[in-house]
Protein backbone atom coordinates (compact mmCIF):
# COMPACT_ATOMS: atom_id res chain seq x y z
CA UNK A 1 0.00 0.00 0.00
CA UNK A 2 1.52 3.29 -1.12
CA UNK A 3 1.25 6.25 1.22
CA UNK A 4 -0.70 9.02 -0.53
CA UNK A 5 1.83 11.62 0.67
CA UNK A 6 4.54 9.87 -1.36
CA UNK A 7 2.57 10.30 -4.58
CA UNK A 8 2.42 14.10 -4.33
CA UNK A 9 4.82 16.05 -6.52
CA UNK A 10 3.32 19.51 -6.17
CA UNK A 11 1.41 21.20 -3.37
CA UNK A 12 1.04 24.94 -2.91
CA UNK A 13 -1.75 24.66 -0.37
CA UNK A 14 -4.36 25.46 -2.95
CA UNK A 15 -3.71 22.88 -5.65
CA UNK A 16 -2.12 19.43 -5.39
CA UNK A 17 -0.61 17.30 -8.16
CA UNK A 18 -0.13 13.61 -7.41
CA UNK A 19 0.07 10.28 -9.16
CA UNK A 20 -3.26 8.46 -9.41
CA UNK A 21 -3.77 5.64 -6.91
CA UNK A 22 -5.27 3.52 -9.72
CA UNK A 23 -3.35 4.56 -12.84
CA UNK A 24 -4.39 3.70 -16.37
CA UNK A 25 -0.90 4.42 -17.62
CA UNK A 26 2.45 5.15 -15.91
CA UNK A 27 2.48 8.80 -14.83
CA UNK A 28 -1.32 9.09 -14.69
CA UNK A 29 -1.66 12.22 -12.61
CA UNK A 30 -4.45 13.88 -10.70
CA UNK A 31 -4.36 17.64 -10.25
CA UNK A 32 -6.87 18.52 -7.58
CA UNK A 33 -8.07 21.41 -5.54
CA UNK A 34 -7.09 21.22 -1.90
CA UNK A 35 -10.62 22.00 -0.78
CA UNK A 36 -13.06 19.12 -0.69
CA UNK A 37 -16.01 21.45 -0.19
CA UNK A 38 -15.70 22.73 -3.77
CA UNK A 39 -17.42 20.16 -5.99
CA UNK A 40 -17.34 22.01 -9.26
CA UNK A 41 -14.72 24.01 -11.06
CA UNK A 42 -17.22 26.71 -11.75
CA UNK A 43 -17.80 27.39 -8.08
CA UNK A 44 -14.31 28.88 -7.98
CA UNK A 45 -13.49 32.53 -8.38
CA UNK A 46 -11.94 33.44 -11.71
CA UNK A 47 -8.52 33.86 -10.06
CA UNK A 48 -8.69 30.48 -8.34
CA UNK A 49 -9.89 28.75 -11.50
CA UNK A 50 -7.08 30.38 -13.45
CA UNK A 51 -4.58 29.19 -10.86
CA UNK A 52 -5.96 25.64 -11.07
CA UNK A 53 -5.67 25.55 -14.87
CA UNK A 54 -2.15 26.94 -14.75
CA UNK A 55 -1.04 24.10 -12.51
CA UNK A 56 -2.80 21.65 -14.86
CA UNK A 57 -0.98 23.12 -17.84
CA UNK A 58 2.34 23.11 -15.97
CA UNK A 59 1.93 19.50 -14.87
CA UNK A 60 1.12 18.54 -18.44
CA UNK A 61 4.38 20.09 -19.64
CA UNK A 62 6.44 18.34 -16.96
CA UNK A 63 4.76 14.99 -17.55
CA UNK A 64 5.50 15.28 -21.25
CA UNK A 65 9.18 15.83 -20.48
CA UNK A 66 9.64 13.30 -17.69
CA UNK A 67 7.73 10.46 -19.37
CA UNK A 68 8.85 11.46 -22.88
CA UNK A 69 5.21 11.29 -23.80
CA UNK A 70 3.87 11.65 -27.29
CA UNK A 71 0.93 13.47 -25.79
CA UNK A 72 -0.69 14.13 -22.44
CA UNK A 73 -4.46 14.40 -22.58
CA UNK A 74 -6.24 16.38 -19.87
CA UNK A 75 -9.67 15.26 -18.73
CA UNK A 76 -12.00 17.07 -16.44
CA UNK A 77 -14.78 14.52 -16.15
CA UNK A 78 -16.86 16.22 -13.50
CA UNK A 79 -18.45 12.79 -12.95
CA UNK A 80 -18.53 12.13 -9.26
CA UNK A 81 -19.30 14.56 -6.51
CA UNK A 82 -15.67 14.73 -5.53
CA UNK A 83 -13.46 17.75 -5.10
CA UNK A 84 -12.39 19.48 -8.31
CA UNK A 85 -9.78 17.40 -10.12
CA UNK A 86 -8.40 16.74 -13.60
CA UNK A 87 -6.75 13.60 -14.97
CA UNK A 88 -3.53 13.90 -16.98
CA UNK A 89 -2.38 10.76 -18.76
CA UNK A 90 0.99 10.53 -20.50
CA UNK A 91 0.69 8.46 -23.67
CA UNK A 92 3.53 7.09 -25.73
CA UNK A 93 1.61 6.89 -28.97
CA UNK A 94 -1.81 7.20 -30.45
CA UNK A 95 -3.37 5.02 -33.07
CA UNK A 96 -5.85 7.53 -34.38
CA UNK A 97 -6.56 11.23 -34.10
CA UNK A 98 -10.28 10.52 -34.01
CA UNK A 99 -11.51 11.42 -30.55
CA UNK A 100 -13.43 8.23 -29.99
CA UNK A 101 -10.76 5.84 -31.23
CA UNK A 102 -8.12 7.73 -29.36
CA UNK A 103 -10.06 7.71 -26.13
CA UNK A 104 -10.86 4.02 -26.35
CA UNK A 105 -7.14 3.43 -26.21
CA UNK A 106 -7.08 4.28 -22.56
CA UNK A 107 -10.50 5.15 -21.22
CA UNK A 108 -12.52 2.19 -22.42
CA UNK A 109 -9.92 -0.51 -22.81
CA UNK A 110 -7.46 0.54 -20.12
CA UNK A 111 -7.53 -1.44 -16.91
CA UNK A 112 -6.73 0.48 -13.79
CA UNK A 113 -4.31 -1.13 -11.36
CA UNK A 114 -2.96 -0.30 -7.94
CA UNK A 115 -0.10 2.16 -7.84
CA UNK A 116 3.22 0.54 -6.90
CA UNK A 117 6.66 1.65 -5.67
CA UNK A 118 7.85 1.51 -9.30
CA UNK A 119 5.42 4.28 -10.18
CA UNK A 120 7.10 6.58 -7.68
CA UNK A 121 10.47 6.47 -9.38
CA UNK A 122 9.84 9.70 -11.30
CA UNK A 123 8.48 11.67 -8.32
CA UNK A 124 11.80 13.54 -7.71
CA UNK A 125 11.97 14.55 -11.39
CA UNK A 126 8.35 15.66 -11.34
CA UNK A 127 8.96 17.70 -8.18
CA UNK A 128 12.01 19.37 -9.68
CA UNK A 129 10.15 20.13 -12.87
CA UNK A 130 7.24 21.74 -11.08
CA UNK A 131 9.57 23.74 -8.83
CA UNK A 132 11.45 25.12 -11.84
CA UNK A 133 8.21 25.89 -13.58
CA UNK A 134 6.78 27.80 -10.63
CA UNK A 135 10.01 29.68 -9.97
CA UNK A 136 10.09 30.74 -13.59
CA UNK A 137 6.47 31.86 -13.41
Amino acid sequence: MIDFANTIFFDDGQVIACLASNPWKPGHTIVCLNDASVKNLWELSLDDATHFWKIVSGAQKILREVYEAFNVPIMYWNIKQMSVHAHLIPLQSTTDDNLIEFTKEFVVTAVAREITEDDLIEIPALKRGMEHLIQGD
Binding site: T50, K54, P73, I74, I79, D97, L99, I100, V108
Partner: protein, 126 residues
Amino acid sequence: MMTRLPKPKSGAIIYEDEKLYVCLANYPITNGHIVVVWKKEVADLHLLTDRDYDYLMDTVSAIRNALLKTFKIKKVHLIYMDEIKHVHWHLVPRYNEKGTDIFTHKPKRLADFSMAKKIKKNLKFQ
Protein backbone atom coordinates in the same frame (compact mmCIF):
# COMPACT_ATOMS: atom_id res chain seq x y z
CA MET B 1 3.06 23.04 -40.00
CA MET B 2 -0.36 22.50 -41.48
CA THR B 3 -3.09 21.98 -38.96
CA ARG B 4 -4.88 18.65 -39.05
CA LEU B 5 -7.99 20.17 -37.53
CA PRO B 6 -10.97 19.79 -39.84
CA LYS B 7 -12.60 22.97 -41.03
CA PRO B 8 -15.85 23.75 -39.25
CA LYS B 9 -18.97 23.38 -41.36
CA SER B 10 -20.86 26.43 -42.41
CA GLY B 11 -23.49 27.13 -39.78
CA ALA B 12 -21.58 25.26 -37.07
CA ILE B 13 -19.78 28.32 -35.72
CA ILE B 14 -21.06 29.50 -32.34
CA TYR B 15 -18.51 32.16 -31.57
CA GLU B 16 -15.46 33.62 -33.29
CA ASP B 17 -13.01 36.41 -32.67
CA GLU B 18 -9.41 37.16 -33.63
CA LYS B 19 -7.99 34.58 -31.21
CA LEU B 20 -10.28 31.58 -31.31
CA TYR B 21 -13.43 30.04 -32.65
CA VAL B 22 -16.06 27.81 -31.12
CA CYS B 23 -18.05 25.37 -33.23
CA LEU B 24 -20.11 22.21 -33.20
CA ALA B 25 -17.88 19.16 -33.69
CA ASN B 26 -18.04 17.71 -37.22
CA TYR B 27 -18.37 14.23 -35.72
CA PRO B 28 -20.04 14.65 -32.33
CA ILE B 29 -20.11 11.83 -29.81
CA THR B 30 -23.07 13.40 -28.01
CA ASN B 31 -25.61 16.02 -28.90
CA GLY B 32 -23.99 19.45 -28.46
CA HIS B 33 -20.37 18.27 -28.62
CA ILE B 34 -18.36 21.48 -29.03
CA VAL B 35 -14.80 22.27 -30.01
CA VAL B 36 -13.01 25.43 -28.83
CA VAL B 37 -10.07 26.05 -31.16
CA TRP B 38 -7.14 28.43 -30.75
CA LYS B 39 -6.71 29.93 -34.21
CA LYS B 40 -2.97 30.36 -34.19
CA GLU B 41 -1.15 27.07 -34.60
CA VAL B 42 0.15 26.63 -31.07
CA ALA B 43 1.19 23.05 -30.34
CA ASP B 44 0.46 22.94 -26.63
CA LEU B 45 -1.28 24.77 -23.81
CA HIS B 46 1.87 25.78 -21.96
CA LEU B 47 3.12 27.58 -25.07
CA LEU B 48 0.29 30.09 -24.81
CA THR B 49 1.03 33.31 -22.94
CA ASP B 50 -0.67 33.63 -19.55
CA ARG B 51 -3.01 36.17 -21.01
CA ASP B 52 -3.97 33.96 -23.93
CA TYR B 53 -4.35 30.94 -21.69
CA ASP B 54 -6.71 32.84 -19.41
CA TYR B 55 -8.62 34.02 -22.44
CA LEU B 56 -8.99 30.48 -23.74
CA MET B 57 -10.15 29.07 -20.40
CA ASP B 58 -12.57 31.95 -19.82
CA THR B 59 -14.12 31.12 -23.19
CA VAL B 60 -14.28 27.41 -22.32
CA SER B 61 -16.05 28.36 -19.10
CA ALA B 62 -18.57 30.58 -20.90
CA ILE B 63 -19.32 27.88 -23.47
CA ARG B 64 -19.73 25.28 -20.77
CA ASN B 65 -22.28 27.49 -19.02
CA ALA B 66 -24.13 27.99 -22.29
CA LEU B 67 -24.27 24.20 -22.82
CA LEU B 68 -25.68 23.64 -19.34
CA LYS B 69 -28.41 26.15 -20.01
CA THR B 70 -29.19 25.10 -23.58
CA PHE B 71 -29.44 21.36 -22.93
CA LYS B 72 -30.63 21.59 -19.32
CA ILE B 73 -27.89 19.26 -18.16
CA LYS B 74 -25.72 19.19 -15.07
CA LYS B 75 -22.42 17.99 -16.46
CA VAL B 76 -20.07 18.81 -19.30
CA HIS B 77 -16.86 16.84 -19.83
CA LEU B 78 -13.82 18.96 -20.68
CA ILE B 79 -11.35 17.02 -22.75
CA TYR B 80 -8.00 18.21 -24.01
CA MET B 81 -6.91 15.25 -26.12
CA ASP B 82 -3.58 16.71 -27.21
CA GLU B 83 -3.87 14.49 -30.25
CA ILE B 84 -2.91 16.75 -33.13
CA LYS B 85 -0.60 19.35 -31.58
CA HIS B 86 -2.94 22.25 -32.06
CA VAL B 87 -4.55 23.77 -28.96
CA HIS B 88 -8.24 22.93 -28.77
CA TRP B 89 -10.69 21.71 -26.14
CA HIS B 90 -13.60 19.34 -26.57
CA LEU B 91 -16.68 20.07 -24.48
CA VAL B 92 -18.94 17.05 -24.36
CA PRO B 93 -22.37 17.34 -22.71
CA ARG B 94 -23.16 14.42 -20.48
CA TYR B 95 -26.76 13.30 -20.44
CA ASN B 96 -28.13 10.44 -18.35
CA GLU B 97 -25.12 8.19 -18.57
CA LYS B 98 -22.72 6.53 -16.23
CA GLY B 99 -19.07 7.48 -15.91
CA THR B 100 -17.21 7.35 -19.17
CA ASP B 101 -19.90 5.52 -21.12
CA ILE B 102 -20.05 8.32 -23.66
CA PHE B 103 -16.78 7.05 -25.09
CA THR B 104 -18.50 3.92 -26.28
CA HIS B 105 -20.59 6.08 -28.61
CA LYS B 106 -19.84 6.00 -32.28
CA PRO B 107 -19.32 9.54 -33.62
CA LYS B 108 -21.91 10.57 -36.17
CA ARG B 109 -21.61 13.20 -38.85
CA LEU B 110 -23.09 16.48 -37.66
CA ALA B 111 -26.52 16.99 -39.12
CA ASP B 112 -28.38 19.36 -36.81
CA PHE B 113 -26.90 22.84 -37.11
CA SER B 114 -29.78 24.52 -35.35
CA MET B 115 -28.04 23.88 -32.03
CA ALA B 116 -25.42 26.50 -32.87
CA LYS B 117 -27.99 29.27 -32.75
CA LYS B 118 -29.51 27.96 -29.53
CA ILE B 119 -26.14 27.76 -27.78
CA LYS B 120 -25.17 31.18 -29.10
CA LYS B 121 -28.30 32.62 -27.60
CA ASN B 122 -27.26 31.38 -24.15
CA LEU B 123 -23.64 32.42 -24.46
CA LYS B 124 -22.61 35.09 -21.97
CA PHE B 125 -19.10 36.22 -21.16
CA GLN B 126 -18.24 37.45 -17.66
